[in-house]
């Protein structure tokens, strides 16, 4: 059992080239945290530094109550699921899983016991005596997971462990991993590209960009209050719509956000929350799910020229054009507008986000925003 504390951890490649820069993060004992970020943002590097596989240029890494910054990987009791799998090619699946147990002096009976349990969960039974070369990509990935699971370490470090599975297996494994985490309660860092994984699996998500930690928080909190346009756009697919905006006075002298989609009225608490935005060039953010095909009190109407429709069965992703700019909406599955037609759509001003156009930072939303916390 162990918490993890990163104190201004940096990794430099050369004098001015950073893979990871000044990352400060505390991960509670037993927490499941997801690292999310675009390719090359330093997720793997951070993970490898925690595992002790990469030297830390600056800062300190604590695991439990020990400073592990310079400790050897084997003294940290962490298990890594590598992005590249890194299965031992000269060993069978069983030997791959057994290796770590042998190295730590686990008895034969216990080894067999754990391997049986884990291969049951992962469906590896039929492959135990095969070499990795004789497995498919998905099977190899499961072996990599199994090798970490049998170890029952203090900390799991998983680098995109589900990236190579098909959709069904992936959903199953997601559940299995969550169950495993509930059962063992081990601190887990889970690196992913996939917003769905990040949103659904983690107690918290940790969004990285260019080696920096951009935002850490509970998934719904981050979703509701992205700190900047990068997080706002990255954390969801399809991404949040951004449009140029400015705070103005409306016809009745009320406060509105003027945009290409029309005037978004501000409620009283929004007016006070966005006081600092007055006079600045702004970006208004509106998630595709906050644009609707039906009107309701308070919604802002605009004429949308339909550009494309992706019918997903459960919903329709509609790309439309207003005043030369393209936007995306997530609409009901029965609403399938013809391409090229012009239909009225309705934005929900209570769900809007405001960002500074220059700094891309968000103006904090009024606290009544739709935050619902997972645990407390």
């Amino acid at each position: 059992m162990a918490s993890i504390r990163l104190q201004t951890v940096s990794k430099a490649y050369g004098s001015d080239l950073y893979g990871v820069k000044d990352v400060d993060l505390t991960i509670e004992d037993g927490e499941f945290i997801c690292f999310l970020g675009p390719s090359g943002c330093g997720k793997s590097t951070t993970l490898r530094m925690i595992a002790g596989l990469e030297d830390v240029t600056d800062g300190a890494i604590w695991i439990g109550d020990k400073d592990m910054t310079r400790a050897a990987p084997r003294d940290r009791n962490v298990a890594v699921v590598f992005q590249s799998y890194a299965l031992y090619p000269h060993m069978s699946v069983r030997q791959n899983m057994e290796f770590g147990l042998k190295m730590r002096g686990v008895s034969l009976a216990q080894r067999n016991d754990r391997i049986d349990t884990v291969s049951e969960i992962l469906g590896l039974g039929p492959y135990l005596d095969r070499k990795p070369a004789a497995l498919s990509g998905g099977q190899r990935q499961r072996v990599a997971l199994g090798r970490a699971m049998v170890r029952e370490p203090d900390v799991f470090l998983m680098d995109e462990p589900l990236s190579n599975l098909d959709a069904k297996l992936r959903a199953e494994m997601r559940l299995e991993l969550i169950k495993l985490h509930r059962r063992l309660g081990r601190t887990t860092i889970f690196v992913t590209h996939d917003q769905v994984e990040a949103m659904t699996m983690g107690d918290r998500i940790c969004i990285m960009r260019d080696g920096h930690l951009v935002q850490v928080g509970k998934p719904l909190e981050v979703y509701a209050n992205p700190v900047d346009t990068f997080v706002a756009q990255f954390l969801a697919s399809p991404a949040m719509n951004l449009l140029d905006a400015r705070l103005e006075k409306g016809l009745q002298d009320e406060e509105v956000v003027a945009t290409a989609l029309g005037h978004f009225p501000l409620s009283a608490d929004q007016v006070s929350a966005y006081d600092a935005a007055r006079g600045r060039k702004l970006l208004l953010g509106l998630r595709p799910e906050d644009i609707h095909e039906a009107d309701a009190p308070g919604r802002v109407a605009f004429k949308a020229e339909i550009v494309a429709v992706e019918a997903l069965g459960t919903e329709n992703i509609v790309v439309f054009n207003v005043a030369g700019q393209e936007f995306t909406a997530r609409l009901g599955r029965h609403f399938i507008p013809a391409i090229g037609s012009t239909v009225p759509l309705y934005g929900d001003p209570r769900q809007m986000h405001l960002f500074d156009a220059e700094t891309t930072r968000a103006y904090p939303r009024p606290s009544s925003g739709p935050v619902s916390n997972k645990e407390d």
Binding site: G52, R74, S84, M103, A133, G137
Partner: protein
């Protein structure tokens, strides 16, 4: 049609390479007075081989060669493995450092042979098999290191990462994971080292004596002032080629196997 043309080409080049060897084999198997005749196989006899072993101590020479070649491989391989691995994984000395591994190979062997002889005479290692083993190990070390460096670089470093988080030390990861994974490459390098030592002539001649003469030295000594004893030379060459043929089969087999297949995506 194209296949036929390319096959004809291949047959031609194979013949260019093979015919002299086959002719040597033929000469070793016909009586000495027919060595230079143009008949292909006038009479078959093993007399040349028998003479080689009875009148010329070729058995000793052969044994010397095997001992020296195998011994030099045994001495060189552990050093080449560790050095090659260090160069492959730890970027300690940069490109210049890696390249300097091969620097000694650039000197003409003679330039090394004479100083080695002086040194060996001082320490009393001339005319001894261990002396030859050592010098071959030293001569082959850079080349073997270079080859192994390439093999170790092709072993994904995440494998060591996995081993070390699994509880192995850096040495344990090398010993239990990297070496077995690189085994085909290591075997190929060992065979290459054997061949290099087996064929070496200059140092064997300069540093050795009658007692330590290896196969190449023995073959050279058959070119006496009375002329070349071509029948015995042919028999000796045929025997000298034998291990090389076996060795090259091995190398082929090891080299076609991928090193780390299946460990990664």
């Amino acid at each position: 049609m194209r296949r036929i043309v390319s096959h004809i080409g291949l047959i031609f080049f194979s013949a260019v390479v093979l015919l002299p060897i086959l002719w040597v084999l033929r000469t070793s198997l016909v009586p000495e007075h027919l060595s230079y005749s143009s008949q292909i196989l006038p009479e078959l006899t093993l007399d040349n081989y028998v003479a080689l072993f009875t009148t010329k101590h070729f058995g000793n020479n052969y044994l010397n060669s095997i001992l020296v070649a195998v011994g030099s491989v045994i001495v060189a391989m552990p050093l080449a493995c560790t050095t090659g691995y260090a160069f492959a994984r730890f970027r300690t000395s940069g490109r210049a450092g890696r390249f300097s591994v091969l620097a000694t190979q650039m000197l003409p062997p003679v330039a090394l042979a004479l100083p080695t002889f002086m040194f060996y005479r001082t320490v009393g290692l001339t005319n001894s098999l261990p002396g030859l083993m050592l010098v071959y190990a030293a001569l082959n070390l850079p080349f073997l290191t270079w080859i192994l460096m390439g093999f170790f670089e092709s072993v994904p470093s995440d494998l060591e990462g996995a081993a070390m988080t699994d509880g192995a030390t850096a040495w344990g990861a090398f010993w239990r994971i990297v070496l077995p994974v690189a085994a085909p490459g290591i075997a190929a390098a060992a065979v290459l080292g054997f061949i290099l030592s087996w064929n070496e002539f200059l140092f064997a001649l300069i540093l050795g004596g009658p007692r330590t003469a290896t196969v190449p030295v023995a073959l050279a000594s058959l070119q006496t002032s009375n002329g070349v004893e071509i029948a015995k030379v042919s028999a000796g060459v045929s025997l000298a080629i034998l291990p090389l043929m076996i060795a090259s089969r091995f190398i082929q087999r090891y080299l076609v196997q991928g090193l780390s297949f299946g460990s990664v995506k």
